[in-house]
């Protein structure tokens, strides 16, 4: 396997992990928008 392929597979895994973290953080913080209005 080439270096590019391995590095990019790792990069895609990192992107997925960051996506999950971002989504979890956003879900938690979007329970109440600023100003108390939805």
């Amino acid at each position: 396997m080439s270096f590019d392929l391995i590095a990019n597979v790792v990069a895609l895994a990192v992107i997925a992990a960051l996506g999950v973290l971002y989504w979890r953080g956003r879900r938690h913080h979007s329970t109440r928008p600023p100003g108390g209005r939805r």
Binding site: A7, V10, A11, L21, G25, H29, P34, G35, G36, R37
Partner: protein
Amino acid sequence: MHVVWLVLDAAGRGLRASWDLLWASLYGLTLGFLMSAAVQVVIPQRLLRRYATGGLRGIAVAAGFGAISSSCSYGPAAATRSLYRRGADARAAFSFLISSTNMNIAILVMFWTLVGWKFALAELAGGAIIIAVVATGLSVLFPRGGLERLRSRHELAGRTTSNGDGPPDGGGPVTEDVVCGMQGHPQHAVTVAGRQYWFCSAGHAGQFAAEPAGYAAVPAGATAATAAGGPVPRPGTGEGRPGLPAEEQDVVCGMTGSPEHTVNHQGRAYRFCSAGCAQSFAASPARYAPAAPGEPEPPRPSLASLDTWQQIAARAWGDVRMLRTELVAGYLLAGFAEALIPARAFGQVLHAVGSVPVIGYVLLLLGLAIAVATFVCSMGNVPVARFLKAAGVPLGANITYIYGDLLILPLVRIYRRSFPPRLTAAFLALFITGACAAGAVMEAVTHALP
């Protein structure tokens, strides 16, 4: 039918080449954004304000912060404006700006993976040369406190007229984003002292709401109220919060707190938007509770905490969103150019033109002119630089094209609105001189390298 087929074939080849470029640089891009986001979260930018003085140390610290800041030229341009407004020395502020696009880790990693280590080196060392030229030039042009006098006169003019940064006469909303100078949107509106300010993004609205006097001619200490759907503050930091009354604001995420989720700390009741935020606060109150004057700074975020990684993910995603247009434009431009322009013919023309000695130097200026014309900034330029290299453009002219992303017209507009006119003119002239000098020096240095 034949023409349609030709167009489809060209589009297919262009998209394929763009995808190949993206695939060749995906890990560099990911690593760059991740590293940049991590250091932005772990090292708070308020430290920069403290150290951004005019001496050599201040200029070096500012350059260091530029290297770890967001790599989109618009973000650092807004940060430079804010730094200058808050009293940072002009030389340190410009050092931060230049470093943020030329010595930035995310861009350097991408250069290394996509164009080669010589380019990464030329980008890094060239940035240092431009900073040296700009800082020395400003010291020579404005000696013995000249820069400070210029700032005082500019501030005085800003207070007596609403020209430039202040809101226009009349009671209508300020539709131009006063943080970055772009067109604002009513969706991201903030009201200060009875006037509505529109912003291009929730991030800029939050930035403004945290310190309105830093961006517009409003009474000192004026507080901001946000419109519905307004700024979404950055979680976990004390920055970017809209000016809600302290007792109602969730100090963890900046949103409105509810009496249902209250935590008492050192005789004061803190309200939170949710049980999750209340738990985060209870676990580490010193980190979130506003420090009284004289109290020690809150501890730095730990990379072992999930909360820190959520902030890193949010910051990285924010940077990608800010840069998405530039990245897409850069990859498509480079991909289509690679697929459709015969690189050998392009190279032969350049070789013939560049062999005339004087024209070699004109090429450096041409590099800057192309950068201004394309409007693509920072990371979007990297794939284009790869194409230019393959087409035989000399490294000096190619790297000058990269330096030129700080001269694109929307940014020049921000400079004009942020700094005194004489300072803006001096900076632009010194930057062009520095960029051409750095291009010529790097061309010679990289020739001498193996």
